[in-house]
Symmetry: C2
Subunit: 545 residues, 2 copies
């Protein structure tokens, strides 16, 4: 075996800790600004507040290993928590404020949250769930409109007052780089939210590799020290994709927008000269179609788009306004960034430029990304053969908190299974084409249930349809179609529908394996509480074809 220099990383005397991200920024950019509302902090002032926050939380009795939860809009306060809480050895829980009250209560209890920093906007919600919170001892009051802190033993005080009273200097200790730094909860369409967690080491490595991946771009999609950063994905969602850590390490000017209001966003872009953001397609659409954006100069705004696929028409709308949009890819379990679709110099202005911006992207440094078949064999990198996207990188979650089975499933074969289906090409571009739960594995091929549904829905008698994969001893899975007929539809048989799909398959629209074995006519399709198709329930309803 190779000789290790030391047995443990801590023996190195330099564990990878979130505090280390601050060294060069504080040394080189102490006067740089961090802006939220009327508040303009210097990096030096920000760091003093980080130290005061840690001291205030210590005063409240928090010990290393305790969990501090936050419910806030995107603000300098949240950024202070991003650093102070993990740096004192506690775990930062970023609470998804869009979950239902029951789910929020579940996640706070599941993560054993000790203290909750809560924006006054969420007081009604807090009142509703307070009785159910079994581990929470105190709240800290955050307010943008001077709403007074509720009195009572449950509240430790108002954030700014606590900071003002706290000591301004704090000596942050070294500890094991594998210590938990952050946790938050993913939400599928079914089941309870699952907790993912990241260590100091993982966040530092994600920050370094994402910085390298962004900054190495020669022209388009490039991040550098003169950029002005503003997040437009919430800080509760995978640490705003980790970009606040990137921006802070780089020492750039940062602007926090609070809630996402087109008016505010457009004003900040104009007044603070924002140049670098990231958001989901819906937010970009909202900004571009807002009244305020019509007047605004958005040229030179660089924008990573993720969360769901950017359509060509949205990309064009953004490009027409001079926005440098490009796709990024990842998920809660991957910290999140895995790939970026920056446009290479030689493609600028060329035929492929528009297509590249909406590709899923190329892997960051250190990311080992494959598309594999059911036996974990690599698919050819031909830009068309699809397989499941599996990945290794030093910043992927090790699993779900207290959910051993789901964790093993996530990591089977030693690779993180993204549940996405896609293809790679010779230049390293990944194109995700489907979610795996929407794909049926049959006869050694992946068939998209969405494509089959699309075909069936074109039949004149069909009101709506859902295609599910049913276990099959010979083929692995076989597609079964559930069909709701139009009220006034002419008589139609199972074979009519199958013949309709077969004709499309023969025309090359889908694989011939995609022709359903069975078509079941049903009165309605199972749906989740928010109205999405619930295929898990359908598979339970129809376990065999």
């Amino acid at each position: 075996m190779p000789q290790a220099i030391h047995q443990t990383p801590s023996a190195y005397g330099y564990p990878l800790l979130i505090k280390q991200l601050l060294h060069s920024a504080l040394a080189t950019a102490s006067g740089q600004e961090i802006i939220y509302g009327q508040r303009r902090l210097s990096y030096a002032g920000f760091y003093e507040r980080v130290q005061r926050l840690a001291n205030a939380l210590k005063e409240m009795g928090l010990q290393p290993g305790n969990t501090v939860a936050v419910m806030d809009w995107d603000s300098n306060r949240y950024l202070e928590c991003f650093f102070a809480v993990p740096m004192m050895g506690c775990v930062l829980q970023t609470v998804n404020v869009r979950l239902s009250p029951e789910q929020i209560a579940y996640t706070l209890n599941h993560a054993q949250a000790d203290v909750l920093l809560v924006n006054s906007d969420f007081l009604p919600l807090l009142k509703q769930i307070r009785g159910e919170l079994t581990t929470l001892t105190r709240c800290v009051w955050l307010t943008d409109d001077a709403t007074p802190c509720p009195r009572g033993p449950g509240f430790a005080g108002e954030y700014e007052e606590l900071l003002a009273q706290a000591e301004p200097a704090c000596d942050f200790p070294d500890f094991d780089e594998n210590a938990r730094a952050t946790t938050f909860y993913t939400t599928g369409t079914t089941g309870l939210p699952k907790g993912v967690y990241f260590s100091h080491r993982q966040l530092v490595l994600h920050t370094l590799a994402t910085t390298a991946g962004l900054a190495l771009a020669p022209q388009q999609g490039r991040f550098h020290r003169d950029d002005v950063y503003m997040p437009l994905t919430p800080m509760f969602h995978v640490h705003a994709w980790g970009l606040p850590y990137v921006a802070t390490m780089a020492g750039v000017k940062q602007v926090y927008p609070g809630r996402y209001v087109p008016d505010t966003i457009c004003r900040l872009i104009r007044e603070e000269k924002v140049t670098f953001s990231h958001c989901v397609p819906t937010i970009l659409q909202m900004v571009l179609t807002s009244e305020q954006a019509r007047e605004a100069d958005l040229s030179g705004w660089k924008m990573i788009i993720g969360g769901s696929a950017m359509t060509g028409s949205l990309a064009k709308m953004a490009r027409d306004r001079g926005i440098d949009v490009f796709t990024g890819y990842g998920m809660s379990e991957t910290c999140p960034v895995l790939t970026l679709a920056q446009v290479p110099t030689e493609e600028l202005g060329g035929e492929r430029e528009a297509a590249i911006r909406v590709k899923t992207g190329r892997p960051l440094p250190l990311v080992d990304l494959r598309t594999v078949d059911g036996e974990m064999q690599d698919c050819p990198r031909d830009g068309s053969t699809t397989g499941e996207v599996v990945v290794r990188a030093p910043w992927l979650t090790q699993g779900y908190l207290h959910q051993a089975e789901a964790s093993e499933e996530l990591w089977r074969g030693g690779w993180l299974h993204t549940q996405d289906i896609g293809h790679l090409d010779a230049e390293g571009y990944l194109q995700v084409t489907d979610r795996i739960k929407d794909v049926i594995k049959t006869g050694g091929e992946w068939v998209s249930s969405l494509q089959i549904e699309d075909i069936i829905a074109r039949h004149p008698a069909v009101a709506e349809t859902a295609v599910i994969g049913i276990q099959d001893g010979k083929w692995g899975e076989r597609p079964v179609a559930l069909v709701v007929l139009k009220k006034d539809a002419a008589a139609v048989s199972e074979d009519d529908i199958r013949e309709h799909v077969r004709a499309a398959a023969e025309a090359g629209a889908i694989s011939r394996y995609g022709v359903p074995d069975r078509v079941r006519f049903v009165a309605e399709l199972a749906r989740t509480s928010v109205g999405k198709l619930n295929k898990r329930v359908m598979r339970e309803q129809y376990p065999s074809s």
Copy 2:
């Protein structure tokens, strides 16, 4: 204590290993070129050669933990060794071919080198020392001019032939990221060479942080994916400052120049459109004053200067040719890069631009750099108060191989002591002013022996002088001057010399603590074999004042 997610990094399933630097480059830039002489490899072709080399070395019986030494000029072969040797779990020893034959033999034995890859240019040297090499079992023959491989049991064969015979695919294993990857030897003016060694983890982190530090620069001193890289500091010296790893991870075109001949260098810049290099001032001077450079277009060539301070006049000469020169700082023990002096956008074309380029630089991400007094207290960051430069970063050597005492001295107080004296300013710029061995710690101040010598040398009776620090119970150290008088000098007393220095101190040239306690008139000054002043010997000769 904070909870660790896992006990050891290997439990993560993703140790930081040199092989991980290749993932994104091979996926996204497999057709990019690596050039040496007439040889033009693609990255895919390069990786096949890396695999063949590992298989050839395995065929020779090499096991993980064994040491493979290399004596070669800068070539694609050396780059292949940078990857293949550590990736198979062996230690790469990069032999400094400028050491004396005795020193080379010492370092090969000390590192327990098992196999030596040796360029045919070094055959005479090898013959001279072969009998002294106690651990070496075989050599591999490297040649650029088809000199045939010597026959005999000591030679395993010629590099290209071995590669051609080896299997083209190799499955590189995962192992402990703290395993030793590389070693080489530092040389002071006195004593035996000291072995420093770096782990996979350290090299990966140095690569990520150096890439981030270079790529984040908005304009000047910036590295990106369209650059063409050519090293001009030898690959045997701190892995050519680690830049070949940076270039490979980024997937850029790479050009290896062999020996540093101005004609070749200028031709490669022209023909291969080299845009990014690094070198010591001497090499830049050599290139700029060469016949060939007069005709060459050097504009846009980016160049990190390190090793010793760049003078303002050399910087100006380079700037007049359009070269984007800037200083980098580090040493063998620091992997090496700690700081870079890229010019910020707001200083471009301004009064300070020239001065910034020759500053020592600003810290890379993750680098915690301080200037401290004798009690390890921080000096004010005022751009003038000097102290010793001490540093922490995740890629610093843990010590010298088999030299516990020197290692403890290097790391006293938990910080790596650079032995450099300098000051920091509020913008994070470090300016190194002295080597510590040239500085006398007295009365709580640092006094530069070089400055005292400079003053004494101006006395009309003095031929040459050396000032040394002598231990003193009250003051820590006190300066003592050794003076060689001119042959025809008028009679001069100890007090005359002291008075001469005192006058200069009163005029503000140095601290009053710098006036020597004793002046000793001597016939000659102790020197090293290469003619440098040997202050270690002087301190032994004059242990007290």
